[in-house]
Symmetry: C2
Subunit: 222 residues, 2 copies
Amino acid sequence: MSAEDPLQQVHLFEPLDDAQLARMRESMREFHLAPGDTLFTQGDPARYFFLICVGSVKLFLLSREGEEKVIDVLHAGAMFAEAVMFMEHQSYPVSAGALSETRLLAFDNEAFLGLLRESPELTLQLLGTMSRRLHQMVREIDELSLHNANYRFITYLLQQERTGPDRVDLNVPKQVIASRLSMKPETLSRTLSKLREKGLIRVEGDTITFLDEPGMRRLLER
Amino acid sequence: MSAEDPLQQVHLFEPLDDAQLARMRESMREFHLAPGDTLFTQGDPARYFFLICVGSVKLFLLSREGEEKVIDVLHAGAMFAEAVMFMEHQSYPVSAGALSETRLLAFDNEAFLGLLRESPELTLQLLGTMSRRLHQMVREIDELSLHNANYRFITYLLQQERTGPDRVDLNVPKQVIASRLSMKPETLSRTLSKLREKGLIRVEGDTITFLDEPGMRRLLER
Protein backbone atom coordinates (compact mmCIF):
# COMPACT_ATOMS: atom_id res chain seq x y z
CA MET A 1 0.00 0.00 0.00
CA SER A 2 1.23 3.53 -0.76
CA ALA A 3 1.43 6.10 2.02
CA GLU A 4 -1.70 7.80 0.71
CA ASP A 5 -3.70 4.60 0.40
CA PRO A 6 -7.06 5.43 2.04
CA LEU A 7 -7.42 1.79 3.10
CA GLN A 8 -4.69 2.43 5.67
CA GLN A 9 -7.16 4.62 7.53
CA VAL A 10 -9.54 1.71 8.08
CA HIS A 11 -8.63 0.19 11.44
CA LEU A 12 -10.62 -2.94 10.59
CA PHE A 13 -8.09 -3.64 7.84
CA GLU A 14 -5.01 -3.36 10.06
CA PRO A 15 -4.57 -7.13 10.53
CA LEU A 16 -5.23 -7.98 6.85
CA ASP A 17 -2.43 -9.40 4.71
CA ASP A 18 -1.91 -8.30 1.09
CA ALA A 19 -4.11 -11.02 -0.44
CA GLN A 20 -6.93 -10.22 1.98
CA LEU A 21 -6.58 -6.50 1.31
CA ALA A 22 -6.74 -7.18 -2.43
CA ARG A 23 -10.04 -9.02 -1.94
CA MET A 24 -11.53 -6.05 -0.07
CA ARG A 25 -10.30 -3.74 -2.80
CA GLU A 26 -11.98 -5.83 -5.50
CA SER A 27 -15.39 -5.58 -3.90
CA MET A 28 -14.93 -1.88 -3.13
CA ARG A 29 -17.16 0.78 -4.71
CA GLU A 30 -16.84 4.52 -4.88
CA PHE A 31 -19.75 6.90 -4.28
CA HIS A 32 -19.96 10.59 -5.12
CA LEU A 33 -22.64 12.61 -3.39
CA ALA A 34 -23.78 16.21 -3.74
CA PRO A 35 -24.85 18.21 -0.65
CA GLY A 36 -28.27 16.97 0.49
CA ASP A 37 -28.00 13.58 -1.26
CA THR A 38 -29.07 10.55 0.76
CA LEU A 39 -26.64 7.64 1.03
CA PHE A 40 -28.99 5.25 2.82
CA THR A 41 -32.22 5.39 4.78
CA GLN A 42 -33.00 3.90 8.18
CA GLY A 43 -34.17 0.30 7.69
CA ASP A 44 -32.42 -0.22 4.35
CA PRO A 45 -30.61 -3.57 4.15
CA ALA A 46 -26.99 -2.91 5.14
CA ARG A 47 -24.70 -4.01 2.36
CA TYR A 48 -21.70 -1.72 2.85
CA PHE A 49 -19.62 0.05 5.42
CA PHE A 50 -18.00 3.34 4.46
CA LEU A 51 -14.89 5.47 4.59
CA ILE A 52 -15.21 9.21 3.91
CA CYS A 53 -12.43 10.36 1.57
CA VAL A 54 -13.64 13.92 0.95
CA GLY A 55 -16.52 15.88 2.44
CA SER A 56 -18.81 15.25 5.40
CA VAL A 57 -21.78 13.08 6.21
CA LYS A 58 -24.56 13.36 8.76
CA LEU A 59 -26.19 10.37 10.41
CA PHE A 60 -29.77 11.13 11.42
CA LEU A 61 -33.11 9.78 12.52
CA LEU A 62 -36.50 11.03 11.37
CA SER A 63 -39.22 11.46 13.98
CA ARG A 64 -42.82 10.48 13.12
CA GLU A 65 -43.46 14.13 12.32
CA GLY A 66 -40.62 13.98 9.81
CA GLU A 67 -38.34 16.03 12.01
CA GLU A 68 -34.65 15.29 11.66
CA LYS A 69 -32.51 14.45 14.68
CA VAL A 70 -28.80 14.50 13.81
CA ILE A 71 -26.95 11.73 15.65
CA ASP A 72 -23.49 12.41 14.35
CA VAL A 73 -21.54 14.45 11.80
CA LEU A 74 -18.52 12.71 10.28
CA HIS A 75 -15.66 14.16 8.29
CA ALA A 76 -13.00 12.93 5.89
CA GLY A 77 -11.03 10.03 7.38
CA ALA A 78 -13.96 8.68 9.38
CA MET A 79 -15.39 5.22 8.92
CA PHE A 80 -19.04 4.48 9.63
CA ALA A 81 -21.76 1.82 9.58
CA GLU A 82 -19.24 -0.97 10.20
CA ALA A 83 -20.82 -2.02 13.50
CA VAL A 84 -24.02 -2.95 11.61
CA MET A 85 -22.16 -5.74 9.84
CA PHE A 86 -21.72 -7.56 13.15
CA MET A 87 -25.38 -7.29 14.14
CA GLU A 88 -28.00 -9.97 13.73
CA HIS A 89 -30.37 -7.78 11.71
CA GLN A 90 -28.27 -6.22 9.03
CA SER A 91 -30.23 -3.07 8.30
CA TYR A 92 -29.05 0.49 8.84
CA PRO A 93 -30.35 1.79 12.19
CA VAL A 94 -30.07 5.43 11.02
CA SER A 95 -30.14 7.40 7.78
CA ALA A 96 -27.07 8.99 6.21
CA GLY A 97 -26.77 12.00 3.91
CA ALA A 98 -24.05 14.21 2.50
CA LEU A 99 -23.52 17.69 3.98
CA SER A 100 -21.14 18.79 1.24
CA GLU A 101 -19.60 17.41 -1.95
CA THR A 102 -18.60 14.00 -0.66
CA ARG A 103 -16.54 11.11 -1.96
CA LEU A 104 -16.89 7.79 -0.15
CA LEU A 105 -15.44 4.32 -0.41
CA ALA A 106 -17.94 1.54 0.24
CA PHE A 107 -16.70 -1.86 1.44
CA ASP A 108 -18.76 -4.97 1.03
CA ASN A 109 -19.93 -6.42 4.37
CA GLU A 110 -20.12 -9.95 3.02
CA ALA A 111 -16.59 -9.80 1.61
CA PHE A 112 -15.23 -8.77 5.01
CA LEU A 113 -17.34 -11.25 6.98
CA GLY A 114 -16.15 -13.93 4.54
CA LEU A 115 -12.53 -13.19 5.45
CA LEU A 116 -13.37 -13.47 9.15
CA ARG A 117 -15.26 -16.75 8.65
CA GLU A 118 -12.31 -18.27 6.81
CA SER A 119 -9.75 -17.19 9.37
CA PRO A 120 -10.45 -17.41 13.11
CA GLU A 121 -6.88 -16.19 13.54
CA LEU A 122 -7.68 -12.97 11.65
CA THR A 123 -10.75 -12.51 13.83
CA LEU A 124 -8.67 -12.75 16.99
CA GLN A 125 -6.13 -10.30 15.58
CA LEU A 126 -8.96 -7.90 14.85
CA LEU A 127 -10.23 -8.20 18.42
CA GLY A 128 -6.68 -7.40 19.54
CA THR A 129 -6.48 -4.32 17.30
CA MET A 130 -9.77 -3.05 18.62
CA SER A 131 -8.83 -3.70 22.26
CA ARG A 132 -5.65 -1.71 21.84
CA ARG A 133 -7.51 1.13 20.13
CA LEU A 134 -10.03 1.24 22.95
CA HIS A 135 -7.21 1.54 25.50
CA GLN A 136 -5.57 4.34 23.52
CA MET A 137 -8.83 6.23 23.42
CA VAL A 138 -9.51 5.81 27.14
CA ARG A 139 -6.06 7.30 27.71
CA GLU A 140 -6.73 10.14 25.29
CA ILE A 141 -10.02 11.00 27.02
CA ASP A 142 -8.27 10.92 30.36
CA GLU A 143 -5.51 13.23 29.17
CA LEU A 144 -7.92 15.64 27.54
CA SER A 145 -9.95 15.89 30.74
CA LEU A 146 -6.89 16.45 32.86
CA HIS A 147 -5.30 18.92 30.46
CA ASN A 148 -8.57 20.77 30.50
CA ALA A 149 -8.66 20.77 34.29
CA ASN A 150 -5.05 21.97 34.54
CA TYR A 151 -5.74 24.84 32.20
CA ARG A 152 -8.86 25.92 34.02
CA PHE A 153 -7.39 25.71 37.46
CA ILE A 154 -4.18 27.56 36.64
CA THR A 155 -6.15 30.30 34.88
CA TYR A 156 -8.35 30.56 37.97
CA LEU A 157 -5.37 30.74 40.32
CA LEU A 158 -3.62 33.44 38.32
CA GLN A 159 -6.80 35.53 38.27
CA GLN A 160 -7.25 35.52 42.05
CA GLU A 161 -6.39 38.58 44.08
CA ARG A 162 -2.94 38.17 45.70
CA THR A 163 -2.68 38.22 49.48
CA GLY A 164 1.11 38.28 49.25
CA PRO A 165 3.65 38.68 46.43
CA ASP A 166 3.16 35.07 45.29
CA ARG A 167 0.22 33.99 47.36
CA VAL A 168 -3.50 33.57 47.01
CA ASP A 169 -6.03 32.39 49.59
CA LEU A 170 -8.78 30.10 48.40
CA ASN A 171 -11.62 31.53 50.41
CA VAL A 172 -14.20 29.07 49.14
CA PRO A 173 -14.38 25.31 49.69
CA LYS A 174 -12.62 23.23 47.04
CA GLN A 175 -15.84 21.62 45.82
CA VAL A 176 -17.21 25.09 45.08
CA ILE A 177 -14.11 25.91 43.03
CA ALA A 178 -14.40 22.57 41.24
CA SER A 179 -18.02 23.21 40.40
CA ARG A 180 -17.23 26.75 39.20
CA LEU A 181 -14.53 25.33 36.94
CA SER A 182 -16.88 22.55 35.69
CA MET A 183 -14.82 19.68 36.98
CA LYS A 184 -15.21 16.89 39.49
CA PRO A 185 -13.71 17.48 42.96
CA GLU A 186 -11.45 14.42 42.38
CA THR A 187 -10.13 16.02 39.21
CA LEU A 188 -9.36 19.23 41.09
CA SER A 189 -7.49 17.19 43.72
CA ARG A 190 -5.46 15.41 41.04
CA THR A 191 -4.69 18.77 39.40
CA LEU A 192 -3.52 20.25 42.72
CA SER A 193 -1.30 17.22 43.37
CA LYS A 194 0.21 17.38 39.88
CA LEU A 195 1.10 21.07 40.24
CA ARG A 196 2.60 20.39 43.65
CA GLU A 197 4.62 17.42 42.39
CA LYS A 198 5.97 19.59 39.59
CA GLY A 199 7.18 22.11 42.16
CA LEU A 200 4.95 24.85 40.77
CA ILE A 201 2.92 25.57 43.90
CA ARG A 202 2.95 24.98 47.65
CA VAL A 203 -0.33 24.25 49.38
CA GLU A 204 -0.85 25.09 53.08
CA GLY A 205 -4.46 24.78 54.13
CA ASP A 206 -6.31 27.32 52.01
CA THR A 207 -3.19 29.21 51.03
CA ILE A 208 -1.48 28.55 47.73
CA THR A 209 1.99 29.91 47.13
CA PHE A 210 3.25 30.21 43.56
CA LEU A 211 6.75 28.74 43.52
CA ASP A 212 7.22 29.12 39.78
CA GLU A 213 4.73 31.45 38.11
CA PRO A 214 6.51 31.43 34.71
CA GLY A 215 6.31 27.62 34.83
CA MET A 216 2.57 27.81 35.47
CA ARG A 217 2.10 30.18 32.54
CA ARG A 218 4.12 27.85 30.31
CA LEU A 219 1.66 25.05 31.08
CA LEU A 220 -1.11 27.25 29.67
CA GLU A 221 0.71 27.55 26.39
CA ARG A 222 0.78 23.84 25.68
CA MET B 1 -26.59 -10.12 37.41
CA SER B 2 -27.25 -7.67 40.23
CA ALA B 3 -26.72 -3.96 39.61
CA GLU B 4 -23.45 -4.07 41.54
CA ASP B 5 -22.06 -7.09 39.72
CA PRO B 6 -18.53 -6.06 38.75
CA LEU B 7 -18.75 -8.28 35.64
CA GLN B 8 -21.15 -5.72 34.18
CA GLN B 9 -18.19 -3.35 33.90
CA VAL B 10 -16.34 -5.68 31.54
CA HIS B 11 -17.32 -4.64 28.02
CA LEU B 12 -15.98 -7.94 26.65
CA PHE B 13 -18.76 -9.70 28.55
CA GLU B 14 -21.57 -7.56 27.16
CA PRO B 15 -22.67 -10.08 24.51
CA LEU B 16 -22.42 -13.12 26.85
CA ASP B 17 -25.57 -15.00 27.84
CA ASP B 18 -26.12 -16.27 31.39
CA ALA B 19 -24.56 -19.69 30.79
CA GLN B 20 -21.47 -18.12 29.21
CA LEU B 21 -21.18 -15.60 32.05
CA ALA B 22 -21.42 -18.44 34.56
CA ARG B 23 -18.48 -20.16 32.86
CA MET B 24 -16.35 -17.01 33.11
CA ARG B 25 -17.34 -16.66 36.75
CA GLU B 26 -16.25 -20.25 37.50
CA SER B 27 -12.74 -19.68 36.17
CA MET B 28 -12.47 -16.29 37.88
CA ARG B 29 -9.90 -15.64 40.61
CA GLU B 30 -9.56 -12.81 43.08
CA PHE B 31 -6.23 -11.14 43.88
CA HIS B 32 -5.42 -8.87 46.80
CA LEU B 33 -2.29 -6.73 46.51
CA ALA B 34 -0.54 -4.40 48.92
CA PRO B 35 1.08 -1.18 47.66
CA GLY B 36 4.27 -2.08 45.79
CA ASP B 37 3.27 -5.69 45.09
CA THR B 38 3.91 -6.97 41.58
CA LEU B 39 1.01 -8.58 39.73
CA PHE B 40 3.00 -9.75 36.71
CA THR B 41 6.34 -9.05 35.06
CA GLN B 42 7.05 -8.24 31.43
CA GLY B 43 7.50 -11.52 29.53
CA ASP B 44 5.47 -13.64 31.94
CA PRO B 45 3.07 -16.00 30.14
CA ALA B 46 -0.28 -14.23 29.98
CA ARG B 47 -2.92 -16.36 31.65
CA TYR B 48 -5.42 -13.75 32.84
CA PHE B 49 -6.95 -10.44 32.04
CA PHE B 50 -8.02 -8.20 34.90
CA LEU B 51 -10.66 -5.90 36.29
CA ILE B 52 -9.71 -3.52 39.12
CA CYS B 53 -12.40 -3.57 41.83
CA VAL B 54 -10.61 -1.43 44.43
CA GLY B 55 -7.32 0.47 44.29
CA SER B 56 -5.00 1.35 41.45
CA VAL B 57 -2.42 -0.35 39.29
CA LYS B 58 0.53 0.93 37.28
CA LEU B 59 1.69 -0.65 34.05
CA PHE B 60 5.42 -0.12 33.51
CA LEU B 61 8.53 -1.10 31.62
CA LEU B 62 11.98 -1.49 33.07
CA SER B 63 14.92 -0.07 31.15
CA ARG B 64 18.20 -2.00 31.00
CA GLU B 65 19.43 0.19 33.83
CA GLY B 66 16.45 -0.95 35.88
CA GLU B 67 14.74 2.40 35.55
CA GLU B 68 10.98 2.31 35.59
CA LYS B 69 8.93 3.93 32.83
CA VAL B 70 5.24 4.12 33.77
CA ILE B 71 3.04 3.46 30.73
CA ASP B 72 -0.32 3.81 32.37
CA VAL B 73 -2.02 4.17 35.75
CA LEU B 74 -5.39 2.47 36.05
CA HIS B 75 -8.06 2.88 38.69
CA ALA B 76 -11.08 0.96 39.95
CA GLY B 77 -13.44 0.01 37.13
CA ALA B 78 -10.67 -0.34 34.56
CA MET B 79 -9.93 -3.56 32.70
CA PHE B 80 -6.45 -4.34 31.47
CA ALA B 81 -4.26 -6.92 29.70
CA GLU B 82 -7.18 -8.24 27.68
CA ALA B 83 -5.62 -7.31 24.33
CA VAL B 84 -2.78 -9.76 25.05
CA MET B 85 -5.22 -12.65 24.84
CA PHE B 86 -5.76 -11.94 21.14
CA MET B 87 -2.07 -11.81 20.30
CA GLU B 88 -0.01 -14.59 18.82
CA HIS B 89 2.57 -14.57 21.63
CA GLN B 90 0.64 -14.63 24.81
CA SER B 91 3.06 -13.03 27.21
CA TYR B 92 2.58 -9.74 29.04
CA PRO B 93 4.33 -6.92 27.13
CA VAL B 94 4.65 -4.80 30.31
CA SER B 95 4.84 -5.28 34.06
CA ALA B 96 2.03 -4.46 36.47
CA GLY B 97 2.14 -3.52 40.14
CA ALA B 98 -0.22 -2.17 42.78
CA LEU B 99 -0.01 1.50 43.77
CA SER B 100 -2.34 1.10 46.76
CA GLU B 101 -4.31 -1.63 48.51
CA THR B 102 -5.82 -3.27 45.45
CA ARG B 103 -8.47 -5.88 44.82
CA LEU B 104 -8.60 -7.41 41.34
CA LEU B 105 -10.66 -9.96 39.49
CA ALA B 106 -8.66 -12.17 37.13
CA PHE B 107 -10.43 -13.81 34.18
CA ASP B 108 -9.00 -16.82 32.48
CA ASN B 109 -7.89 -16.11 28.88
CA GLU B 110 -8.43 -19.70 27.77
CA ALA B 111 -11.95 -19.78 29.19
CA PHE B 112 -12.86 -16.67 27.22
CA LEU B 113 -11.12 -17.76 24.01
CA GLY B 114 -12.94 -21.12 24.38
CA LEU B 115 -16.29 -19.32 24.33
CA LEU B 116 -15.27 -17.44 21.20
CA ARG B 117 -14.06 -20.60 19.45
CA GLU B 118 -17.33 -22.38 20.15
CA SER B 119 -19.49 -19.52 18.94
CA PRO B 120 -18.57 -17.51 15.83
CA GLU B 121 -21.82 -15.64 16.45
CA LEU B 122 -20.60 -14.49 19.85
CA THR B 123 -17.35 -13.36 18.23
CA LEU B 124 -19.24 -11.23 15.73
CA GLN B 125 -21.38 -9.75 18.49
CA LEU B 126 -18.21 -8.85 20.36
CA LEU B 127 -16.80 -7.14 17.28
CA GLY B 128 -20.08 -5.20 17.12
CA THR B 129 -19.85 -4.16 20.78
CA MET B 130 -16.31 -2.98 20.32
CA SER B 131 -17.12 -1.07 17.11
CA ARG B 132 -19.92 0.77 18.85
CA ARG B 133 -17.69 1.57 21.83
CA LEU B 134 -15.02 2.94 19.52
CA HIS B 135 -17.57 5.24 17.89
CA GLN B 136 -18.80 6.47 21.28
CA MET B 137 -15.27 7.26 22.31
CA VAL B 138 -14.46 9.13 19.12
CA ARG B 139 -17.54 11.22 19.82
CA GLU B 140 -16.53 11.76 23.44
CA ILE B 141 -13.04 12.91 22.45
CA ASP B 142 -14.57 15.27 19.91
CA GLU B 143 -16.96 16.74 22.47
CA LEU B 144 -14.26 17.13 25.10
CA SER B 145 -12.01 18.97 22.66
CA LEU B 146 -14.81 21.27 21.58
CA HIS B 147 -16.07 21.89 25.10
CA ASN B 148 -12.54 22.72 26.03
CA ALA B 149 -12.20 25.11 23.10
CA ASN B 150 -15.51 26.81 23.88
CA TYR B 151 -14.48 27.36 27.46
CA ARG B 152 -11.12 28.79 26.56
CA PHE B 153 -12.36 31.05 23.84
CA ILE B 154 -15.25 32.51 25.85
CA THR B 155 -12.95 33.10 28.81
CA TYR B 156 -10.54 34.86 26.44
CA LEU B 157 -13.30 37.01 24.92
CA LEU B 158 -14.66 38.10 28.28
CA GLN B 159 -11.17 39.08 29.45
CA GLN B 160 -10.50 41.39 26.49
CA GLU B 161 -10.71 45.12 26.88
CA ARG B 162 -14.04 46.43 25.59
CA THR B 163 -14.05 48.88 22.73
CA GLY B 164 -17.79 49.46 23.17
CA PRO B 165 -20.37 48.44 25.78
CA ASP B 166 -20.62 44.91 24.35
CA ARG B 167 -17.79 44.89 21.87
CA VAL B 168 -14.22 43.68 21.64
CA ASP B 169 -11.79 43.98 18.75
CA LEU B 170 -9.56 41.01 18.05
CA ASN B 171 -6.39 42.85 17.20
CA VAL B 172 -4.37 39.72 16.47
CA PRO B 173 -4.83 37.19 13.65
CA LYS B 174 -7.09 34.27 14.51
CA GLN B 175 -4.28 31.73 14.24
CA VAL B 176 -2.36 33.62 16.92
CA ILE B 177 -5.39 33.51 19.21
CA ALA B 178 -5.82 29.81 18.47
CA SER B 179 -2.21 29.13 19.30
CA ARG B 180 -2.44 31.18 22.51
CA LEU B 181 -5.46 29.15 23.54
CA SER B 182 -3.72 25.87 22.61
CA MET B 183 -6.19 24.87 19.93
CA LYS B 184 -6.14 24.25 16.20
CA PRO B 185 -7.28 27.16 13.97
CA GLU B 186 -10.09 24.90 12.65
CA THR B 187 -11.31 24.34 16.19
CA LEU B 188 -11.37 28.09 16.81
CA SER B 189 -13.41 28.55 13.62
CA ARG B 190 -15.87 25.85 14.71
CA THR B 191 -16.14 27.50 18.13
CA LEU B 192 -16.82 30.91 16.58
CA SER B 193 -19.50 29.42 14.30
CA LYS B 194 -21.17 27.62 17.20
CA LEU B 195 -21.36 30.79 19.30
CA ARG B 196 -22.75 32.71 16.34
CA GLU B 197 -25.34 30.01 15.57
CA LYS B 198 -26.46 30.12 19.18
CA GLY B 199 -27.04 33.87 18.85
CA LEU B 200 -24.45 34.68 21.51
CA ILE B 201 -22.13 36.82 19.41
CA ARG B 202 -22.02 38.75 16.14
CA VAL B 203 -18.83 38.70 14.12
CA GLU B 204 -17.95 41.55 11.75
CA GLY B 205 -14.39 41.37 10.53
CA ASP B 206 -12.27 41.62 13.66
CA THR B 207 -15.05 42.99 15.81
CA ILE B 208 -17.05 40.71 18.03
CA THR B 209 -20.26 41.98 19.60
CA PHE B 210 -21.65 40.19 22.62
CA LEU B 211 -25.35 39.67 21.94
CA ASP B 212 -25.96 37.67 25.10
CA GLU B 213 -23.22 37.94 27.70
CA PRO B 214 -25.19 36.11 30.45
CA GLY B 215 -25.67 33.27 27.94
CA MET B 216 -21.92 33.15 27.32
CA ARG B 217 -21.23 33.01 31.05
CA ARG B 218 -23.75 30.20 31.44
CA LEU B 219 -21.77 28.13 28.92
CA LEU B 220 -18.77 28.42 31.24
CA GLU B 221 -20.71 26.88 34.08
CA ARG B 222 -21.52 23.66 32.29
